[in-house]
């Protein structure tokens, strides 16, 4: 099976989530993996370690802002070039927007938010997260070509190959309207660990009383090398920026460790975080519903517990 993987890079380095997509592709294809890169990236030969034979590299400044339609055209063209039976990519703001367009272009069947490798003993069945993390749907996909977007942290990264990949220049043709959406400005928080990519997340809710109390949350996050997140009312009240809001209507995260401070654990909040591997809840109310969905719980006032946790981490050399 020939599989194309669309790779994203930030600051010249391939994103961890893209390495997950490669791991997935290598396992499902038994070795026939081509990667497509449209971002500036270094060391692409090293993708051989993840089972990639050939990297198709598009070097075109017009793609630097990842215009969705043009990226979709590039992915479809690359899939056609290599005769891909499947296109695998990790979920991101670009992939989520481009995948359905690629699906229509290639007359392919799209499955989004895939959390496990396909079962192929009776057709082609993938498991997807649905009902905002409250259920999984094993979904049978018809059609010659499958497009799969992989949920973050569902697969993990594994080196499955050896040797160096061959890097080839690739110039896809674009559609007449591929640049119809013009990016006029980008406002990004630089330097911080980005929440959707983070492996550790420290999150806080209305229990923190006000934005001035987030220093201790940021300190804890810094100590752990974690991203910060918050509940919906916190971003609604502008205590924290919108892109930190996790849950059903916010960002869905699946880190190794999610620490929730002063968050009640409403079902809509849980919906966005319950795929986390380990959940720690700190709440002064021992009846807080979040404790039912936690692995470790501490009953206590955040203003007392968080600094103590900070000290305990420092004592342990973290």
């Amino acid at each position: 099976m020939s599989v194309l993987v669309y790779i994203e890079a930030d600051n010249n380095a391939v994103k961890k989530s893209s390495l997950e997509a490669l791991t997935y592709a290598a396992k499902m294809s038994a070795g026939d993996v081509t990667a497509l890169v449209t971002d500036k990236a270094e060391g692409l030969e090293d993708l051989g370690k993840y089972g990639v034979k050939t990297v198709l590299q598009v070097s075109d400044d017009k793609l630097s802002t990842r215009p969705v339609s043009a990226i979709a055209s590039a992915i479809a063209a690359a899939a056609q070039k290599v005769g891909a039976n499947a296109v695998v990519m990790s979920r991101s703001s670009t992939v989520d927007a481009a995948a359905p367009r690629v699906g229509v272009k290639l007359k392919a069947t799209v499955a989004s938010n895939v959390v496990a490798l396909p079962q192929t003993d009776n057709g082609f069945v993938v498991r997807r997260g649905v009902y905002t993390g409250k259920a999984f749907a094993d979904t049978k996909l018809e059609g010659e070509i499958k497009i799969l977007t992989i949920a973050k942290n569902a697969i993990g990264v594994e080196e499955t190959g050896s040797g160096a990949a061959t890097v080839e220049a690739f110039s896809p043709e674009y559609g007449a309207k591929d640049f119809a959406v013009k990016v006029t400005d980008v406002k990004k928080q630089e330097g911080d660990i980005l929440l959707p990519e983070a492996d550790l997340v420290v999150s806080a809710g209305r229990g923190l009383k006000g934005p001035e109390n987030w220093d201790m949350i940021e300190n804890l996050a810094k100590t752990l090398g974690a991203a910060t997140a918050c509940s919906k009312p916190v971003s609604d009240m502008d205590w924290r920026p919108h892109h930190e809001h996790v849950g059903q209507t916010g960002i869905k995260v699946a880190p190794s460790l999610y620490i929730a401070v002063g968050i009640s654990g409403a079902i809509q909040h849980l919906a966005g975080v319950n795929s986390s591997k380990t959940i720690v809840v700190i709440n002064k109310d021992e009846e807080a519903p979040f404790f039912k969905s936690a692995d470790y719980g501490v009953v206590g006032d955040a203003f007392d517990v968080v600094p103590k946790l900070q000290a305990a981490l420092e004592k342990a050399g973290i």
Binding site: K134, A137, K182, T184, H243, A316
Partner: protein, 243 residues
């Protein structure tokens, strides 16, 4: 302005999900307009109120979705269309929407960034590709100036500002507008507004759910004394192995 808003009919966000085989167990489940679609609808009502025009709401669904469609009419849509079919999957739904919209000269087609049941997030992109239109998702702000729409879109760790000409498709999310709650007058008026029912163009869908499963329950929470956080750190390192 001629606006189409597509809405889905989904279980209320507080619903505990259960299944009967490959069907959702609808017993005791309250259905609502998809929360993200509700944001799209609210912004469409604002745009129509500001500059006039017509606002059509569309749902691909069987007769049981009509109360949800009436609610959208009560919030401010002028007329409604129901494409009479079980919404089998994203491609099927997109095909119905595109077939309906292709000769109606909509200036914009708005919907939620994803449905809160299947979370596919595919319909807006598919409709746009089928109609050869630009698409912006997830769209958090939307302003219209003449023939140009300016939108803010969520990206990793921030926001991207874009513009494009009409017509376009957008998959919306908060904080694009405040949700609107229907008032008594809106509810009375909604009863008289037209709700057209049309048949789907096809019955086939490329995907089929063969099994649902609920995630494993988390094991019993281990409580740790607030005065013994060294123990929490030890457990995170040695037991959970996440530090």
């Amino acid at each position: 302005m001629n606006i189409l808003v597509c809405i889905c009919h989904v279980p209320d966000t507080t619903t505990k999900i259960k299944f009967n085989g490959t069907e959702l167990d609808k017993n005791g489940v309250q259905f609502i307009i998809g929360p993200y679609d509700d944001y799209a609808l609210a912004r469409a009502v604002e745009l129509k109120d500001a500059s006039g025009g017509k606002l059509t709401v569309l749902n691909v669904g069987e007769a049981d979705t009509e109360p949800t469609i009436r609610k959208a009419l009560a919030i401010g849509a002028d007329n409604a269309v129901r494409i009479n079919a079980h919404p089998k999957d994203a491609y099927f739904v997109a095909e119905q929407i595109a077939a309906y919209a292709k000769d109606k000269n909509f200036d914009m087609i708005l919907m939620g960034r994803e449905a809160s049941d299947y979370n596919g997030g595919q319909v807006h992109g598919m409709v746009a590709e089928m109609l050869d239109m630009p698409c912006v998702a997830p769209c958090m702000t939307l302003e219209v100036n003449g023939n140009v729409a300016k939108m803010g879109r969520e990206i990793e760790g921030g926001k991207e500002y874009v513009e494009c000409e009409m017509p376009f498709v957008a998959g919306c999310q908060e904080p694009i507008a405040e949700w609107k709650i229907p008032n008594m007058r809106g509810i009375m008026m909604a009863r008289k507004k037209p709700l057209e029912v049309i048949e789907p163009t096809t019955e086939s869908a490329p995907t089929e759910v063969v099994n649902y499963e609920l995630p494993a329950e988390r094991g019993n929470v281990k409580m740790i004394d607030a005065d013994n956080l060294d123990e929490l750190v030890r457990l995170l390192k040695e037991e959970a192995k996440v530090l």
